[in-house]
């Protein structure tokens, strides 16, 4: 076991960890976005979806714990890479330029630590606001087909009727896209899965995934702010 730990904490082992947790987080994000689409259908559709999700019970808890582990591992490895980077070049260049060409270095790849940290802070607030926010006991209740369930739709609309929240969400979602623009293809490269043949495809796919997820998430608060009637 300690041998396995040695391998997994080596410079290459940690790449496997970031890669695999990264892909896991992207998959979660896609599922999350698909769930969000229920908001566009309407109040009942969204509340029913969250009700069904909550009623998964222990299954949901296992998924949540898995997700939390993914986030934690991903963040810890990310920080370790950042700290090693600082150690490995104690004195920085006076002038530093990218050679261009085949380089994959860009704003996105250089800001992974910053965008990642902001996303992490955002997540804490996001989960506190919605998952652990006001529920049935606080009067956020709706009745669908004779069943009382949490009116999360109302909470979402109330939050996204506040301009500062909409602005913050929009910015963070753009940063999420920035993170994924490098993160997506990089995860596959970290797992040693790419070569000259597949790299261009996965790299381009990464841009597509980043843009789609970013826009997919940021469109919702904007839509709620401008087009949803309060208390509808």
């Amino acid at each position: 076991m300690s041998k396995l730990m040695n391998y997994l904490t080596s410079s290459i082992g940690r790449k496997y960890l970031t890669g695999i947790t990264g892909i896991g987080l992207v998959l979660f994000t896609i599922v999350h976005l698909l769930g969000n689409l229920n908001l566009f259908i309407g109040q009942d559709s969204f509340n029913l979806y969250t009700y069904k999700l909550e009623s998964l019970g222990p299954l949901l808890e296992v998924a949540e714990i898995g997700l939390a582990i993914c986030f934690l591992l991903h963040a810890i490895v990310g920080v370790s890479v950042y700290l090693n980077k600082k150690k490995a070049r104690p004195i920085d260049y006076y002038v530093y330029n990218s050679a261009g060409g085949n380089s994959k270095q860009n704003f996105s790849s250089k800001s992974m630590m910053v965008t990642g940290s902001i996303i992490l802070i955002f997540l804490v607030i996001h989960v506190a606001t919605f998952k652990f926010g006001p529920s049935i006991e606080q009067g956020y209740v709706t009745n669908i087909n004779g069943v009382d369930m949490r009116d999360l739709y109302r909470l979402v609309v109330e939050k996204f009727k506040q301009l500062p929240i909409v602005i913050v969400y929009t910015i963070v979602m753009i940063l999420l896209g920035t993170h994924l623009r490098h993160g997506f293809w990089s995860a596959f490269q970290s797992l040693g899965l790419l070569n000259k043949k597949y790299r261009p495809f996965v790299y381009t796919l990464g841009i597509l995934v980043a843009v789609m997820l970013s826009i997919g998430f940021l469109i919702l608060p904007i839509w709620v702010y401008f087009f949803v009637e309060m208390g509808a």
Binding site: L4, S11, S80, N84, K87, V95, G192
Partner: protein, 242 residues
């Protein structure tokens, strides 16, 4: 931008004007000319490492206007010619900066960390005795080509110098991949990858973040495919050893 105070403690930049430079000169010949002029003035010449001056020894390590070996693709500093610059240009030259490459003097850095990474790879088993038949071990053309591409690494260290994280992954991966692709390298392949990666870490190089800057500056154009292969080799070695 670098911390000016740190630079003051660990060295300094000096402005030199090189007279009579011409466009046919290589960058190293420009430095030769500068040193001649400095010596005539009684000043100390600028130390820089060089040997073959034809792009195969990998010793002319320096960062020119922020790019190791300068702006031209797939070339070493000795292959960079002054025709890429204009008369009157200011060119900023720095040594490779990485903890794994301690600076000896001026532009000269100690790249023996690379030697130690190769040493850590150990030996390759070979049959001794009478000379084997030339075609007794068959190697597919594509594998041979790939192995040769990786074997083109001259160990110049530009990959480390260009990497925002000062990672030596491309160098180490090129050495590992070159041997893992050929049957002759197979007997020790799993031991080799573990030991070389371990040594790479011990030398104080950073982690790879897949910026791919190494491939862009490599004078031999070695692809980060090597890093993919290294990661796959390491994974197989991990499964074998756990």
């Amino acid at each position: 931008m670098a911390d000016k105070n740190l630079l003051q403690i660990h060295g300094k930049f000096v402005d030199y004007t090189v007279e009579n430079a011409n466009s046919h000169m290589s960058f190293l010949e420009l430095l030769d000319l500068l040193n001649e002029q400095l010596i005539k003035k009684g000043e100390e010449p600028v130390e820089f490492d060089n040997d073959c001056r034809e792009g195969i020894c990998g010793s002319c390590s320096m960062v020119i206007n922020g790019i190791p070996h300068g702006p031209t693709k797939e070339s070493a500093t000795c292959q960079l010619h002054m025709r890429h610059y204009n008369d009157g240009d200011t060119i900023i030259v720095e040594p490779f900066r990485a903890k794994g490459f301690p600076i000896i003097k001026d532009l000269v850095v100690d790249r023996s960390a690379f030697d130690r990474i190769i040493q850590a790879g150990g030996y390759n088993s070979v049959n001794v005795g009478s000379a084997p038949d030339a075609n007794s071990i068959l190697i597919p053309k594509d594998k041979a080509d790939m192995a040769f591409d990786f074997a083109a690494c001259i160990g110049c260290g530009a990959c480390v110098a260009a990497c925002p994280n000062s990672s030596a992954s491309l160098f180490t991966a090129a050495k590992i991949s070159q041997l893992s692709l050929l049957p002759q390298g197979h007997p020790e392949r799993y031991r080799r990858v573990i030991r070389m990666v371990e040594q790479m870490e011990k030398e104080g190089f950073g982690d790879c973040s897949n910026h791919g800057e190494c491939e862009a500056v490599c004078p031999k154009g070695i692809s980060i495919d090597a890093i993919s292969i290294m990661r796959r080799e390491y994974f197989k070695a991990m499964l074998k050893n756990v």
